[in-house]
Amino acid sequence: MSFVIGAPCVDVMDKSCIEECPVDCIYEGSRMLYIHPTECIDCGACEPVCPVEAIRPMQRLAEEWKPFQEASRELFARVGSPGGSTKVTTLEDPHLVTEFEKED
């Protein structure tokens, strides 16, 4: 269970979702935001507030989101479970995201 942030967030990072999340499980990278897959309680509060519709539930993930899901998993395998994004500084984006070329 959890929600996944995809490509539309890259270089946008509106952060409305961070304000909305009741468990503070949305973490900031340099180019995009990431939802912690085990800290997320699946409440769905973030999904409708994203102005670029970057947030999707894991159960209904479009193909384009899947590499981002994988990248996010790798990121949090490295970072662990800090228990809230306010407890850590900006996370280092995974390779997929640092190399990602945004289409305009």
């Binding site: 909305e20 009741p22 468990v23 503070d24 085990t38 309680i41 409440c43 509060a45 507030v49 479970s81």
Partner: protein
């Protein structure tokens, strides 16, 4: 200062805690339930009362709030003592028993404690710019609609609570203004339509940025995105319905063995403290799956093991509920 003395104290009035209250009653134990929120239901009531839940055994679909109502009804014959709107702050050993004190100054003494705290205490998201008026004009809930009577009401938020309160306020208050920081509401389409047809003043893309008033609150400043300068809105009652945040809170300091902010339990739902059990989302063990369905089973395990802990002679198995009279044998008088 109020003191309650019970067999089992349940910390957390979410679905799992409520089911635990039923089970304690069924086992003939007196029970109290404490929760930081002013209502039962925990995360379900706070975050998705209107959402359908599809994975409760035997219920193909049930609305969050209906599930909570059913659980409260199921426990009701056993007269659980609810201590709501008070956060459990400390857990102290009293010989063979335990004592919990709350933020409201209530003392709860119990022979066993079952912690069903979910992801932690649910508390309303604060509105810092008006925090100095808390309970002198600023509220996070509308406990009774008559508090709206004759007031200049400003409601902040865009969800169902905000809209329901705004619609109620229009009927009772002198003026009603709804301030929401986005263009879109996150409420039922029907409520949005009623709001549009009502006399409620709606300020969108807007935030309350300051509050003023000498004794109590008299006015708030609302900043609308793209506007030149803020608007002053008369306000004697400010209701911040900005959603909720959840944090494990004081439980983390109770001397329990934790793993990633969850309480480690064994197969009998025992924690490292004797007589203290945990169930539901707050507990963890190898292979844990965080679901309400799983929590129901865990809390039945916890309460039955608590019963056996308290009365070793009666044993672990509860017997069949179908054989039992539902009438509470040891109901507590208030």
């Amino acid at each position: 200062m109020t003191t309650h003395d019970v067999d089992v104290l349940i910390v957390g009035a979410g679905p799992v805690g409520l089911y635990g209250a039923y089970y304690a009653g069924f086992r003939g134990l007196t029970v109290a339930v404490v929760d930081a929120l002013p209502t039962q239901g925990g995360q379900v009531s706070a975050l998705y009362p209107e959402k359908n839940i599809f994975d409760i055994a035997g219920m193909p679909a049930v609305k969050g709030q209906d599930l909570v109502a059913g659980l409260v009804e199921q426990a009701a014959p056993f007269c659980p003592r609810y201590v709501l709107g008070e956060q459990a702050e400390t857990l102290v050993r009293l010989g063979e028993r335990w004592q919990v004190t709350t933020s409201g100054g209530t003392t709860l003494v119990a022979s066993a404690v079952v912690i069903t705290g979910g992801v932690g205490a649910v508390s309303p998201r604060p509105l810092p710019c008006a925090e100095q008026y808390l309970d002198r004009g600023l509220q996070y809930f509308v406990p009774r609609l008559d508090v709206l009577d004759g007031q200049d009401v400003v409601i902040v938020g865009g969800g169902d609570s905000a809209l329901d309160w705004a619609l109620a306020s229009v009927e009772r208050a002198r003026t009603t203004t709804l301030v929401h920081r986005r263009q879109q509401f996150r409420a039922h389409a029907h409520s949005v339509k009623l709001l549009e047809q009502s006399t409620c003043r709606t300020l969108l893309d807007a935030q309350v940025t300051a509050a003023a008033g000498d004794d109590g609150l008299s006015c708030v400043e609302v900043t609308v995105k793209g506007d030149f300068g803020p608007v002053a809105v008369p306000c004697t009652l400010l209701v911040a319905a900005l959603g909720f945040t959840m944090q494990i809170g004081p439980i983390a300091d109770w001397g329990l063995q934790l793993q990633d902010r969850s309480i480690l339990v064994d197969s009998a739902a025992r924690t490292n403290l004797p007589g203290v059990f945990a169930a539901g989302d707050i507990s963890t063990y190898d292979g844990k799956v965080k679901l309400i369905a799983v929590g129901f089973g865990e809390v039945a395990t916890a309460v039955n093991n608590a019963a056996a802990h308290l009365q070793p002679e009666v044993g672990l198995a509860p017997g069949h509920s179908s054989d039992a009279a539902i009438a509470p044998s040891r109901a507590v008088s208030a």
